[in-house]
Structure formats: C-alpha cells, structure tokens
C-alpha cells in the first residue's frame, strides 16, 4: 500500500535516508527516539514534505501527487496538529460531512458519545485524552484503507490509551484490508497492535522485524566478564557494558538458552530493543 524507496531528506546536519514498506492489511510500527526522523517519514508519506531524492509511493502513486479523491482513502491522526481548537466537535462533524464522500456521520456521533466526547465544547477546552480520542475517531470516520497514526496515545493515562487501542482494534476487525502505520513511544501499545516494526535511529532504519519475532526470539543476555570472553557472539546484535559484566541483545535467545545453561536470558521487548539498538555498541 505504501512503498518508501531510498527516501533522502536533509535538514541542516540531519540526513534522513530510509526505505520501508507498509503491506496491505498489516499494522506497521515505526519506533525511534525523539528526532530520529519518524515525523519526516510520516510527512513524506502524506506528501507534506518533498524528498530530496528517492520515491514515496502511496496506492501506487507518488505521495505528493495524490488527488483529493485518493486522499479520501487515508485517515490521519497527528500528535501536534488537527482541526482548529476554536471549533467544536459539532463543527468538525459538519466539515467532515462535506469533506468525505464516505463519512459515516451516525457512526461517528455514536462513537464520540460512547467515548464521552461533547459536541458543543470548543476543542481547546478538551482534555489531552479527549483530544487524542477525537483525533483518532476523525481518522477512522471515513473508512479509509490507510491509517497514519503519529503518537496517537502520547501523553495519555493507561485507561485512555487502552480505549484508543481498542477503538483501533475494532476498526481493524471491521476493515481487514486496512493498513496502518503507527508511531509510538509506548512499546506495549505497539507490541499488542503491530505486525512488524521498523526502528529508525539518526535518520536510518536500523532494524526491521516482525513483532512476534522480537517478542519470541529476541532476548537480553546478562553475562559476567568471564563468560563473555567465551560467549559465541555470532548472534549478538548489540552489547552494553554494565557493572556486573555485559548485557547482550540477541535475535536468537533460544540458541543461548540451549548452549549456555545458567546464563540469565530475559525475553526481548520493544523497550529493550530501543535501549540496546540506540545505546549499545
């Protein structure tokens, strides 16, 4: 559904250089530290920034050249941008009615009501959680085949986060061919939602892996100095020196469980992945 090939974009000293794919019907996660280039990737896919070189194709067409009709098939929730805060949800509903041919007004109103979102209050008076929910519901309101969600759960408490994730899961169940690109700082959100994960660091993709593999096959080895010297390092991705020895991040934890009895092996997760891949040596 989306193909990013050798996308290069310079901002002063920063250089983004990435390639990635968002396949049909899958949820793809994009992770990385602040300033890694996630937003630039998203903006390039949405045609909001022009690549210095490379190609960003959406629905088989250059991202910047999508027609308004084709853009109706994209739902977008951005963390730092939305409808004017001076509008109410009632205003937004009326605007969406005229903006999208496939806007499901009654469904949208019902969802907003079920989430406790008032229609007569200015968006500027919404709480952070209410704003986030409204942004996600707007993105889902017109049955788009491609959803781009930039930090949809950022700054929310666990309850609000789960509610938003549930809304997205329900949408996915009803729209099986829908593809989602989602960025988040909260690893548990991505672990429960994404089929595959791209990790971006200093403008480069440093890892692309299926989420199940990260959780099932990746692991963190805690190794003392003496054992580290004897350790087979062929499956070690990153190593970090600690007080007691080394922490080694591996993509084959079973290999070490089988061959090094007594070695402390912790299950891999996205938090560890970020910490090790961007901080280890």
């Amino acid at each position: 559904m989306v193909s990013v090939k050798n996308l290069v974009k310079h901002y002063g000293d920063f250089c983004l250089d990435v390639s990635m794919e968002i396949p049909d019907g899958l949820v793809t996660g994009l992770i990385g530290k602040n300033g890694a280039g996630k937003s630039t990737v998203i903006k390039s896919i949405l045609g909001l920034v022009k690549p210095d070189s490379g190609k960003v194709m959406v629905f088989g067409k250059e991202a910047g050249k999508l027609t308004p009709k084709e853009k109706e098939n994209i739902g977008v929730a951005l963390s730092d941008s939305g409808f004017s805060n001076y509008l109410t949800l009632e205003d937004v509903t009326k605007i969406l009615c005229k903006m999208y041919g496939d806007f499901h007004e009654s469904e949208f109103r019902a969802l907003c009501k079920s989430q406790g979102l008032p229609f007569d209050k200015d968006l500027k008076n919404f709480s952070t959680g209410m704003k986030a929910k409204a942004r996600v519901l707007v993105a889902l309101s017109h049955k788009a085949d491609l959803l781009i969600m930039d930090e949809p759960t950022s700054g929310l408490d666990i309850e609000a986060r789960n509610e938003i994730l549930d809304i997205m899961r329900d949408y996915l169940e009803e729209n099986e061919k829908c593809s989602i690109l989602i960025t988040s700082h909260i690893s548990s959100d991505l672990e429960g939602l994404c089929d595959d994960i791209y990790m971006i660091h200093e403008g480069k993709v440093i890892l692309h892996e299926e989420t199940d593999k990260i959780i099932g096959q990746y692991g963190l080895l805690k190794v003392e100095e003496a054992m580290y010297a004897k350790l087979d390092k062929s499956n070690i991705i990153k190593t970090k020196k600690t007080d007691y020895g080394y922490e080694c991040f591996t993509s084959e934890k079973q290999f070490y469980i089988d061959n090094y009895p007594g070695l402390v092996v912790e299950n891999g997760n996205i938090d560890e992945l970020i910490l090790m891949m961007t901080g280890g040596k």
Binding site: L46, V49, T67, Y86, C97, M99, Y100
Partner: protein, 217 residues
C-alpha cells in the same frame, strides 16, 4: 471545496460577538455620517475578517493536518479567493442596502446613479485589496504579514507622494489629469476596471498557489 467553505464559515461565526459589535458601529456610522463611507467600511471589515481565517488555519501547526485532508494546494487557494471575494460581495450588497435604507430614513437626497457608481467602484478596490492581502498572509503568516502589509501600504503611499512631486516638477496638474480621465466614457472605464481586476486576481491567485505548493508542512 465545500468542506473548506463550511470550515471557514464556522470559524468566522466563532467571532460573531465581534462581528455584531462592528455591525452596531456601522449602524451608528450609517446614521451619523454623510456619504457612502459605510459601504467601504463594511466591505473592508468583511475583507479583514475573511482573510483572518488563514490565521486560524495556520495556528497550532494547523496546516499540517489541513493538508492531509482530501484537498490540494490549488483547491485550498481557490476556496480562499472564492470565500473572501464572495463574502466581501455579500457584505457590499448588505452595505449598499443599508446605505439606501438609512438615507431614506434620514430623508437624505439620494442620487441613485451617482451613489451607485461610487459604490460599484468599490468592488474592484476591495477585490484588489484581497489580492494583495491573501498571498502576503499565505507567505508570511499571521504575525509577519501585518508588518509586511504596513510596509507595503507605506511604500504605496510614498510612491503616490513622490509621483505627485514628480508631476508637479514636470508642471503637470493632477486636476488636469483628472479632467482628461473624466472625458473617458464610463463604459470604457468599466471595461478597463473589470479587465485590470481580472488580471490582478489571476496574477495573485497564481502567486498564492505557488506559495502554497512551495511550502512544506
């Protein structure tokens, strides 16, 4: 485009209290001032209000999201021109009716052809004003555009002043020029006015479109 118009109307109505205050002022002006000042006052006021919807779009990174909606730069710019010029025209019609009604109520002697001629002249004036304001607002944003517009009006005033000085230096009388212009038939003036306005609208629209297409959000 219908969605954008809906958005702009709803944004405009957010300032209904201010609009009511200005309408009340124009009501007072209509009864206390002579001439058709109220027509220019109301039309310019509407122009300023409608152009301010660009500031609302820009505020809080608004453009980033706006440009993900099913619109493109050309549609956005076309809607802004259509909305601003259309709203200005509605304000102009309202102002003309208001002017005539207050004139009748006050018992003024209304010279319909002369007053209407003055009122009609104001249509290309407000459209040209919009053609200057919209691209500047799009290029420089809400804050900077105010300074740019002030500088621009200053430059225009300076050119007028210097022009008058140059004409005086060449011993050309401005009154003489006005007399010559007066001899041109009104129909020629009208056609010329429409043609110049259309050309300015087209140039301004193309500039605005290029400004928006060049931007990154």
């Amino acid at each position: 485009m219908a969605g954008l118009v809906e958005k702009d109307i709803r944004l405009l109505l957010k300032r209904k209290e201010t609009i009511i205050i200005f309408l009340a002022i124009s009501f007072l002006l209509g009864f206390t001032t002579d001439g058709n000042f109220v027509i220019s006052y109301l039309t310019i006021l509407c122009t300023i209000f409608t152009v301010s919807t660009i500031s609302y779009d820009e505020f809080d990174n608004g453009y980033t999201f706006l440009m993900t909606l099913p619109i493109d730069c050309k549609t956005y710019v076309a809607e802004k021109y259509a909305f601003c010029i259309g709203s200005g025209f509605i304000a102009w019609i309202f102002a003309v009716i208001f002017f005539l009604v207050t004139g009748v109520v006050k018992g003024d002697a209304i010279n319909l052809s002369e007053d209407m001629m003055m009122a009609v002249v104001f249509i290309p004036v407000y459209i040209i004003m919009l053609c200057v304001m919209i691209p500047i607002q799009l290029k420089y944003g809400g804050e900077k555009s105010r300074i740019v517009l002030l500088v621009l009006w200053g430059i225009i005033a300076l050119i007028g002043f210097l022009g008058a000085k140059v004409l005086a230096g060449l011993h050309i009388s401005i009154d003489g020029l006005v007399k010559i212009l007066d001899q041109i038939p009104e129909i020629v003036f009208g056609i010329l006015g429409i043609a110049i306005t259309v050309v300015i609208v087209v140039i301004s629209f193309v500039c605005s479109r290029k400004i928006m297409e060049k931007k990154e959000y």
